[in-house]
């Protein structure tokens, strides 16, 4: 499980989990679960296009996820945001089905793009993934303060000169980068499970942003590691385990938070009158 070609899988998957956990924290904070689902899912068209014209899958994924993210951001200015996201997603998937019918790919390839194929990760994927990850982390580090302000208190941000629109576009671009690097590992459909499940679980456990982000990364790592181990032993698709473990982590975290709240209510009224820093909207 830890030898030979599996080393690449573990490396790439760990990098992916760290980035997904960190970026996903903002996805949950901004309530953009739908976008986090739509951008990676729509990049399926990019994979199909790449295989049709015979270029590197990563390039196809990158182009289509960026186009999708920017399209959602620009069209979302004038239309209802959720409608625009849904329509951009189905347009990309429709294109994907067209490319697929041209190239005559058969089912196993389609499912591996949709649901991941960790065992197929090769050594030459490690370097591009690491570079993309560094770009994502750098972007999040640079954007951290304005993005946090704009996500939590959009109007205050605008008043201080942080354009919500520009923040939205930057964030969407980062999501597109994450999608590009994650697709080969967990597949287009389940990246968002990693990007939503782990941070949502972390948010139920703590209100402090940096701690929540760290927890989110930790939970994402555990999710991916256990998913790979399980996929390796059972030969089932990684996506299945990622989806299951993420949902499980969220359920456990929610249950724990509910239990803790009840204990605090029993103990006295101290809880709920906490410091303003704890008042992130959930």
């Amino acid at each position: 499980m830890f030898s030979g070609f599996m080393v690449n899988a573990w490396t790439v998957a760990s990098i992916v989990a760290v980035v997904a956990g960190a970026v996903g924290f903002f996805a949950v904070l901004r309530g953009s679960a739908f976008v986090a689902h739509a951008v990676p899912n729509g990049s399926f068209a990019g994979a199909a296009w790449a295989s049709l014209v015979g270029i590197n899958t990563l390039v196809g994924l990158g182009i289509f996820s960026l186009l999708g993210a920017l399209g959602i951001g620009l069209l979302g200015r004038r239309g209802r945001h959720d409608v625009v996201t849904a329509l951009a997603l189905v347009l990309m998937l429709g294109l994907g089905s067209l490319f697929l019918s041209f190239s005559g790919e058969y089912a196993p390839e389609v499912t591996s793009v949709l649901f991941g194929e960790v065992l197929g990760i090769s050594a030459n994927q490690v370097a591009p993934t690491a570079v993309l990850a560094l770009v994502c982390i750098a972007a999040i580090a640079v954007l951290y303060r304005p993005l946090m302000l704009s996500s939590v208190l959009g109007e205050v941000g605008e008043a201080r000169g942080v354009s919500s629109f520009r923040m939205e576009l930057s964030f969407l671009a980062v999501v597109a980068l994450v999608a590009t690097m994650t697709v080969p590992v967990v597949g287009t459909t389940l990246i968002f499970s990693l990007m939503i499940g782990a941070p949502a679980a972390a948010r139920s456990l703590t209100d402090r942003p940096l701690l929540a982000m760290t927890l989110s990364v930790a939970i994402a790592l555990v999710t991916v590691w256990s998913a790979i181990a399980a996929a390796y032993t059972t030969d089932y698709p990684v996506g299945f385990f990622v989806g299951g473990v993420s949902a499980g982590a969220y359920t456990v975290a929610r249950a724990w938070a509910a239990w803790r709240r009840r204990r605090h209510v029993d103990a006295g009224p101290a809880f709920g009158t906490s410091t303003p820093t704890a008042a992130l909207p959930s």
Binding site: V83, A86, L100, S101, L114, L190
Partner: protein
């Protein structure tokens, strides 16, 4: 003049547009009927989906249908049953988690969707590995209205009636609670119950749309025509009629184009129906936004 002669005449006149055999193909007949029924139900339900900003729930139900369709393939029953069953269960789970604020609601939808997509991954894997049903995956995901069997029409009609009856019976309270849940609650409307019943109607509409353009594209039919119609008119009743016309138009034109595309490059294979339907719906949405966009531009130019 008989209908056959009429259609032959039509074919003769429109030969460059309509390829020969279009009107005599049974698959086309079924596609035209099912497509229209699914588009009308999607319009009636979709108007509320857009007003309530529940596109993500619609998209999630569509994707969850993938798991249902694969389970049905695995069990050897019609995909429709699997899709309907899974969508209803998923709608119930989303309602039970029930976070009412939009941000939290999307999160709950996302978590449920993630779990079901994981299940879909497993079921599709089992299908391709042990059943060798190579075509099944593509048919479930991207659909093809041409593969719907004639025998399924009564079932599809019955489910459509159920969905339409729910919307018709709840019409006024649903409308009010979609526009303002506070006012609706103040007037004594059971907002939560209405929401749950509406989610059931949505599950049925999505399942029907999934049969025509595939599980992961079904959102197009639910949200696209409705959003376009709501840009053109503010009156909900009129919007439903406009959305139904747009949806049926996109379905029929899509079926026609797909039928014709057999003769296009790369030759010898039809392009997917779903691709045409989705693209037409997207174009209609873009065009419906043009007047407002031009108006805003001329205003900024004047200023």
């Amino acid at each position: 003049m008989s209908a056959l002669a009429g259609s032959q005449l039509l074919c003769g006149e429109l030969a460059p547009i309509i390829e020969p055999g279009f009107f005599s193909s049974v698959a086309v007949h079924v596609a035209v009927v099912i497509g229209a029924v699914a588009a009308i139900v999607a319009a009636a339900v979709g108007i509320f989906t857009v007003m309530r900003s529940q596109s993500f729930a619609g998209e999630a139900l569509g994707d969850i249908g993938t798991a249902g369709g694969s389970a049905a393939f695995l069990g050897g029953v019609s995909a429709l049953w699997g899709i309907v069953a899974f969508d209803i269960v998923a709608a119930a789970v989303m309602e039970l988690i029930g976070i009412q604020r939009p941000r939290g609601r999307d999160l709950a939808t996302g978590i449920v969707l993630g779990a079901f997509l994981g299940l879909a991954a497993l079921l599709l894997y089992l299908n391709t590995t042990f059943h060798n049903t190579t075509g099944a995956v593509n048919t479930i995901l991207f659909g093809s209205v041409f593969t719907v069997a004639r025998s399924q029409i009564p079932v599809i009609a019955a489910l459509s009636v159920v969905a339409l009856v729910i919307v018709a019976a709840l019409y006024r309270p649903l409308l009010l609670s979609s526009m303002s849940s506070e006012i609706a609650a103040a007037r004594g409307i059971p907002v939560r119950l209405i929401g749950a019943a509406y989610l059931l109607a949505m599950a049925l509409a999505v399942a029907l749309a999934s049969m025509t353009i595939g599980t992961i594209l079904s959102t197009a039919l639910l949200v696209g025509p409705a959003a376009t119609a709501l840009r053109l008119t503010k009156r909900p009743g009129v919007a439903i009629a406009v959305a139904a016309m747009l949806g049926v138009g996109a379905m029929w034109l899509g079926v026609l184009l797909a039928y014709d595309s057999f003769y296009w490059a790369p030759n010898g294979k039809t392009w997917p129906v779903s691709f045409f339907v989705v693209t037409l719906i997207f174009l209609a949405y873009l065009i419906s936004g043009l007047p407002a966009w031009l108006g805003a531009r001329s205003q900024t130019a004047r200023a």
